[in-house]
Assembly symmetry: C2
Homo-oligomer: 362 residues x 2
DNA sequence: TTATATTATTCAAACGATTGAATACCAAGC
DNA sequence: GCTTGGTATTCAATCGTTTGAATAATATAA
């Protein structure tokens, strides 16, 4: 384990140990085309000495020279949101077989950190950026710096395709409608709704879908039973919002037999609020969420929800990124794309026919 | 936005645009000591041109030269485990003010990925590694390669201090005892236990603490009501294990009024299993978890649990890392340390006195 | 025997930044 | 007029790797 001035073993160390030049060693260790006419004996000698000395090529030197960082930045707006991890998993799954390293960054819902990481992405010469963000945050020129440097971008959970950025997200409107239709099918007519916060992209289309399906079913939504979450700072605030609004619903004395929540955490908050008031879920009131994240699945009763194919969305984003990188390699510029994944109803235990209308079993 | 052969703006671009040498530009932009005797006019000119051209220093070139990657790797055994994120948050919180970038890596409970990332850590010349791992995985020489290269290591959630690695973890034994004493205080005598899997470091000490507290309270644990989780592959398997064992408990026909679960996900599984059989939590049976992760807090009933100060543990780990880096800077080698955080009982709604023993309110 | 190819290895110039040493300029001191 | 001492800027080497071009040694063809 020969150590030199720097703590790490370099090509030069190996070259010296073998009595060869740095070039030869490099050619062999990086499996360059030329290595096919390096004598087998020499090759073996280099390989074994490298192993003995514990050689690890310096990614910095290599990237500097080769002009490839082999890095794809994954900038998440909030890693503590259970939504993000499956996206990341999907990305990792696709990137695992490639030689790219996903560079995970967590903006923690803070604009300052978002900017800071954007800057690091540029400095670290990431070859592409996958952004997981539902924020609106006046993003007009947030990603401008990235685009200016011709770094391909793919965004998950937000439609920026008209700004020229490839986007993959769930069909929120269809999802909202799906949730509403599920409640209608069960026989509910009086439905409370907790809408998402203003600065979240998903909020509006989901609400539109809900209204559309309500109209189609001839259900009139009681304005007093429609709430709107304040801006979220972390996943817990969705829960707390749901809890608070559940109390308000009850306090309003308006009749309702089901609650359609903006997302799963909100739904869990609603369940808590209603339960504390002595209501049983789903016997006295149904609750439906959105997303299908882990906490919704492991709660009891399990939350009926609209599933986003989260992991698949991540994989798709990674796939597009690889294609964009390929295109750029060939001098082309990949055209921005848009994909709306189809949401899916996951029926768990938090929804059932309204009280006094037990038509289906359970 | 002058682009050169590489897509990025370099010092040379700025130097040319200003009619100065690369050195001067570098000195100004990197705020080197020499910059104090660069004429103010020159300085301004450089600064504004840099901004205009959209200059971002190349981290690779800089690190290669300065021999500092400004990177601390954070290798998590499974990011989808709700335990990991708060640790990461704690690390980020401490590192945010420093110029170090946390390089997040997710081994997804796969040995192969763990190795792969370990290798990347070396290649990317991370200056330190914080490992979040409770695995046993015959780690004898897993981290050997890292140590050989004199990269400081701090491990979270595992005691490797006798192997010379600084370790911060919760006092599992105290936590186990705390949980048991809580149930005893409520009046429980017949308690089922779901032990952790063999290859998880936490399993044994928690079990020891539970037994110790049971002994002290004169509680005899019914062997038929003690279960052991199989090895976990993801957070859901804890849930499924709890669910399955709850069914076995009931099938065994042995009497019990409380369940002490290995962790929160397991506790949630137990709650589900008992609920499906018609038992009410906590009226008919109490359930206690361990860790205090998000799903335990947002479930209804909220899970009574033993809280680990997870974020603080992350912060401490980061702090030690910075100190170790400092020490190394000065040629010293920081001595390995060990900290056992004090666990704390968080009383929620899943625990209450046993049926027929309603002594306390509620 | 000389030219030509093939095989095995090395030279040397990058990549983009940093930095100790060098240079040029100019004023002041003797 | 020559040194001394700032001030302002540049030279040139360096970090560890890659790679097109060059070289050397050997084998094959003419």
């Amino acid at each position: 384990m020969a150590q030199r001035r720097s703590g790490h073993v370099t090509l030069l160390d190996i070259a010296r140990a073998c009595g060869l030049s740095v070039s030869t060693v490099s050619i062999v260790l990086s499996k360059a085309p030329l290595s096919r006419n390096v004598a087998a004996a020499t090759r073996d000698q280099i390989l074994t000495t490298a192993r003995q000395l514990g050689y690890h090529p310096d990614a910095y030197a290599r990237s500097l020279r080769s002009r490839h960082s082999q890095t794809i930045a994954v900038l998440s707006f909030d890693l503590s949101d259970p939504f993000c991890i499956p996206v990341v998993r999907g990305i990792q799954a696709r990137l695992d077989s490639e030689s790219y390293l996903p560079l995970l960054m967590d903006a923690q819902t803070q604009r300052r950190l978002f900017d800071k990481y954007l800057n690091m992405i540029l400095e670290r010469r990431a070859e592409g950026v996958i952004v997981i963000a539902s924020w609106v945050f006046e993003e007009t020129n947030l990603l401008a710096d990235i685009k200016k440097n011709h770094v391909p971008i793919v965004i998950v959970s937000r439609d920026l395709s008209r700004r020229g950025i490839s986007s993959v997200l769930v069909d929120n409107e269809a999802g909202g409608a799906l949730a509403m239709r599920h409640l209608r099918d069960l026989g509910h007519r009086k439905i409370a709704v907790v809408r998402g916060p203003k600065d979240l992209f998903d909020s509006e289309p989901r609400w539109i879908g809900i209204q559309r399906a309500a109209d189609e079913a001839g259900i009139r939504l009681d304005r007093k039973l429609v709430f709107r979450l304040p801006n979220l700072v972390d996943p817990m605030s969705g829960f707390e919002g749901g809890l608070k609004f559940a109390q308000q619903m009850l306090a309003s004395k308006r009749p309702f037999t089901a609650v359609l929540a903006f997302d799963d955490l909100t739904a869990l908050g609603v369940v808590r609020g209603l339960s504390e008031a002595g209501l049983r879920i789903p016997e006295d009131c149904s609750v439906v969420g959105f997303d299908d994240v882990l906490p919704a699945a492991v709660a009891t009763p399990g939350i009926t929800t609209i599933r986003q194919p989260i992991k698949e969305m991540g994989t798709r984003a990674a796939n597009w990124m690889l294609e964009a990188l390929d295109a750029r390699e060939q001098g082309r510029e990949a055209a921005p794309r848009l994909h709306r994944s189809t949401p899916e109803l996951v029926t768990r235990m938090s929804s059932a026919p309204p009280p006094g209308k037990r038509v289906k079993k359970r």
